[in-house]
Point group: C2
Chain length 306, copies 2
């Protein structure tokens, strides 16, 4: 692995991803694990990182660029926040060095919206946004970043004007696992983003967001009175949470024109694409894995020019 230029790490709350990037920007190796901030906080961040680098025989002085929760107060080293409005290029200049005996390690900061009525924070998504800029282009954009805590971001010419976090993914999990609805959705298995139960719930919650916790209860009463299946129950729970999020995001920031861009990977891609399409929006999909790697590459190339 003599051609390696740097390692790029996306270090989330509960996930760790590392790529070894070659001189041409080529991905030479990849590692994924569940050693996110919570696990690494116990094991030690340096221990986790070095174990992954050793496993793929990375050069001993290879520099490392990191984004995400490793820069949180409870992370490896606090990387602070850039305040909105925040030009995305600014996160590269604000990267902080980590004290380490092995190598040159930098962590990118997050973004903070220090607004009394709508305080908000992100860590990791700013790097995805930086990496998606080439694909997004100039002008104004409303960008949806689905996940445990979905972010809806307003960007103009590469500057984040403001953003709103919705607890969609986490609330779906917590309600499915710990509420009375757990019985209704337990054997639900996989549902499709084109299932009527999902799309109807999206439409209902988007139209009547105030009724969200009532719509959730109809998952149970629908099962009691109308024999709603576990699969449809799960689809309805998911659709209600997504419809509520989209209604809120659009209330906070109507998209200019009808376009919304979604930066997403994996199973959420179809759910958000089809939910937004059902509401007559026409989402452009940008791959989140590519975006974060491109963002880390932009930072690495600026910090360690060839």
């Amino acid at each position: 692995m003599t051609a390696a230029s740097y390692a790029a790490v996306d270090w989330g709350t509960s996930s760790f991803r590392l790529w070894i990037i070659g001189e041409s920007g080529k991905v030479l190796a990849e590692r994924r694990s569940a050693e996110g901030m919570i696990a690494a906080g116990k094991t030690g961040f340096s221990t986790v990182l070095e174990a992954h680098l050793a496993a793929i025989s990375a050069p001993s002085h290879l520099p490392v660029i990191i984004c995400g929760m490793a820069g949180a107060k409870q992370g490896w080293a606090e990387a602070g926040y850039l305040d909105t409005p925040a030009p995305l290029a600014g996160i590269v200049k604000a990267a902080i060095p980590v004290k380490d005996d092995h190598r040159d390690i930098r962590i990118l900061p997050g973004l903070a919206q220090r607004n009394e009525a709508a305080p908000d924070v992100m860590r990791g998504e700013e790097t995805q946004l930086l990496g998606a800029m080439a694909e997004l282009g100039g002008g104004s954009h409303l960008v949806c970043m689905p996940g445990t805590h979905s972010k809806w971001v307003r960007i103009t010419d590469g500057t984040v004007e403001g953003f709103s976090t919705f607890m969609t993914g986490e609330l779906f999990d917590v309600i499915a696992k710990h509420s009375i609805l757990s019985h209704a959705v337990a054997e639900g298995g996989h549902f499709d983003s084109t299932d009527a139960a999902f799309l109807e719930a999206v439409a209902q919650a988007a139209k009547h967001p105030a009724l969200a916790t009532n719509l959730l209860f109809t998952v149970r009463s629908g099962q009691l009175l109308h024999g709603l299946s576990a699969k449809a129950a799960k689809a309805k729970l998911s659709g209600t949470m997504l419809g509520l999020e989209i209604a809120g995001a659009l209330a906070a920031a109507r998209p200019t024109g009808d376009s919304v861009s979604v930066i997403v990977s994996g199973g959420l891609t179809e759910l958000y694409r089809d939910a937004l399409s059902a509401l007559d929006l026409n989402p452009a999909i940008i791959d989140a894995d590519d975006a974060v790697r491109h963002g880390l590459a932009a930072a690495a190339n600026a910090i360690w020019p060839a």
Copy 2:
């Protein structure tokens, strides 16, 4: 206890309450425990009931009238549902007898709203409503019944026209215990219904219900960026859930005039009274413990006339 006429039981999902009622309608004795449907389903319903009756030396042939989850499919004996629109007097006629060697035991049915778009069920609240009719009087009413699953009921001249359940109390618990907000609210302790953090959250969620899960996230970001206290965080979580419920209930059924009646006991009384008042509604408060006892008395007096 020779003057005892009957025992009245409010048997909920997680609570059991029993009153011994004398010939004049006087409460002769009371028992409360956590042996609700879930616990009694394991111990045995008859065992739980007889143990409480024995503990207060109730006569061996005293009849028992029961409302609540004891009549659910997973309860003691399935008491079915009356379909809306449902005259409240009808629940007395639809009481079912329980096969029992000891005594005459009847369980009151619940109510079902068999509506494809808004299926809903209640068990126990219908008996509170029956008991509150004297205080409510004739005409049209919008009645709020706070709890784990809050009910908002539309009643006209003693007939339940329709109702909507909101998962407010359960979602508050589940979010406070199992989500990322658990850290923010953990040491919150008791907050007052007049605290600004509570009332502002009620107003914000009622005004912008679509932003509910975003407002919930600001509990965390407010703590990170503005040092929101644990007490204020808990008040804000509670206020957001209540404001969302009230917005939904009013969207589903605007009250005629400005009046809403709330049937409630204990700690939720102040929260709902002050939340509704802050939204310029003027709630009449009816005690829920009295209401359920009066409803059970109406049933007992009809089934076993003196």
